[in-house]
Symmetry: C2
């Protein structure tokens, strides 16, 4: 029986670990806060008190962590994954981190005969619960094939996009397009309202043509209703755009809209809106335009600090 160590039982990690458990894998869960481990044990999983204990007997290690430094710290060092896993093990990082950090960890792992894949996801908490995530995998062909039986229990679309680090590169590009499209919709929405147009009908006709997008479809109604309950938090998107811009600079790619939308997301976070859904970019456009939310005639769920 394949034993999987699952490190990082947060909003995304916990439901993913449960899906693996339900699929019949032997799953050992670890999280920095013991309460999350206890919850996983109560649901039928095994628990561990440290990273080293979690990975000692595993065939596959999966990590789902907030940011690049967390991944580096969990994988490297004497108490980390790499020092304590059996040679030949498959290490799958599903966090969204910097591609260069993914490659550095992969190099360290290779030095101890371990196989590392970067496999960030899209689809959010609901996708994690449903097992319907899209997974972008960077690895060798052989490692991808080895990981597929595990990944297919947590995701529905699993695509091998290139060598190690490529999964993170694709995820970064994905996050640019999402943030940029939200900002475009926020600007269009503010513009339409300011001109007294019937916004619902306008978005309907716009959405049916070349301007149509998943953002307009899934975020348009909540943006019109000014509901900024996450969803995906501004603070996480801020981190992801930093990854895009750093990786773009590294490759010599000049991306003007990426720079622009980054500073807008940064401003939103700086003003205390990091906890809101990323569609709260609408609030920033209104603020820049001197529009009082009350004038729009609807309540706002989760306001800017004022």
């Amino acid at each position: 029986m394949t034993t999987i160590s699952f490190i990082g039982l947060g909003t995304m990690g916990a439901p993913m670990a449960l899906n693996l458990l339900r699929s019949g894998f032997d799953v050992v869960g670890y999280n920095r806060s013991p309460a999350r481990v206890a919850k996983f044990v109560a649901a039928g999983g095994r628990g561990a008190l440290s990273v080293a204990e979690a990975v000692t007997d595993s065939d596959v290690v999966i990590t789902m962590l907030p940011d690049s430094p967390d991944v580096t710290s969990v994988y490297t060092g004497p108490d980390g994954v790499i020092a304590n896993t059996r040679p030949g093990s498959l290490l799958i990082d599903m966090s969204t981190i910097r591609p260069d950090v993914a490659r550095a960890v992969a190099d360290t792992a290779a030095g101890r005969g371990l196989r590392f894949l970067d496999a960030p996801v899209s689809g959010g908490e609901q996708g994690a619960k449903d097992g319907s995530l899209a997974i972008m995998v960077g690895s060798s062909e052989a490692d991808f094939a080895a990981a597929l039986p595990v990944l297919s229990e947590v995701g529905a679309t699993i695509v091998h996009v290139g060598r190690v680090g490529s999964g993170q590169t694709v995820k970064a590009a994905n996050q640019l397009i999402v943030a940029g499209t939200i900002q475009l919709v926020a600007e269009a929405l503010t513009f339409l309202r300011a001109h007294g147009v019937e916004v619902e009908k306008a978005l309907e006709v716009i959405g049916g043509g070349l301007a149509g997008s998943a953002v307009l479809r899934s975020k348009g109604p909540s943006m019109r209703a000014r509901d900024f309950t996450p969803g995906f938090r501004v603070s996480l998107h801020h981190k992801d755009l930093g990854i895009f811009n750093d990786a773009a600079r590294e490759a010599g790619v000049v991306a003007p809209l990426a720079a622009n939308v980054s500073y807008l997301v940064g401003a939103l976070k700086a003003q205390g809106c990091g906890h809101l859904d990323h569609s709260a970019l609408l609030l920033l456009v209104e603020q820049l335009s001197g529009i009082d939310a009350r004038e729009v005639g609807t309540e706002t769920t989760g306001v800017m600090n004022s």
Copy 2:
């Protein structure tokens, strides 16, 4: 029998006028260049030698012209539509122009007992041929109802979005989202290529999630193939973004991505690429990033001047 004057038999206007003809309307066509009128007459329509002659006996006047000054000049003045049409006639401008110009023409028309609607379209040349255009109408409810039997012969989705000028406002917002999304896809594509990712697979997985859009679906493959045959020309999109930015300034709306993508489209036009499809924004991102198109390993259809 309803007589329709159709002024502006260009790429969009000609197939629209033909569709009205096929639907059984009596259609009088006029265009500045007589060759286009002759072509319309050869196809079974009636022709006129001037705007005044074209509109004298009509119930409905439709205009499909390149820009705001063209609309002003065709409608106003002693030889224009307004001075020469029978009171009570319905005037429908389907050009993409400034909302304030649409309102000014409407005011002049109202002074002579004429009803004016702005009804810009999306869907391009193919939509014009198929009669499948989306039409955004700004007018009173009564005028919208009066125009519907005519509009439904040239479009499939016909939406009343508000008072006169609102159609243009919605079209401007539409054009912002389209240009912005193309630019985001161009930046993402350049980023993915620079990092050596498998681009086709990457776009597939990106397109299936929150980053998915009609632009990615319909322009992604031709952008990957570097085919910039229009489609919709950079020079027209440049005009449309000018309309958005002017109307945004007028309403006090601050739209950072609109400003940003406008200058990018402006640069593309300034460098002699006005005749290419708007997806040629990819060329500008490559140029800014110092990427030689030859390094990408594919031919480019329609190159920048160099």
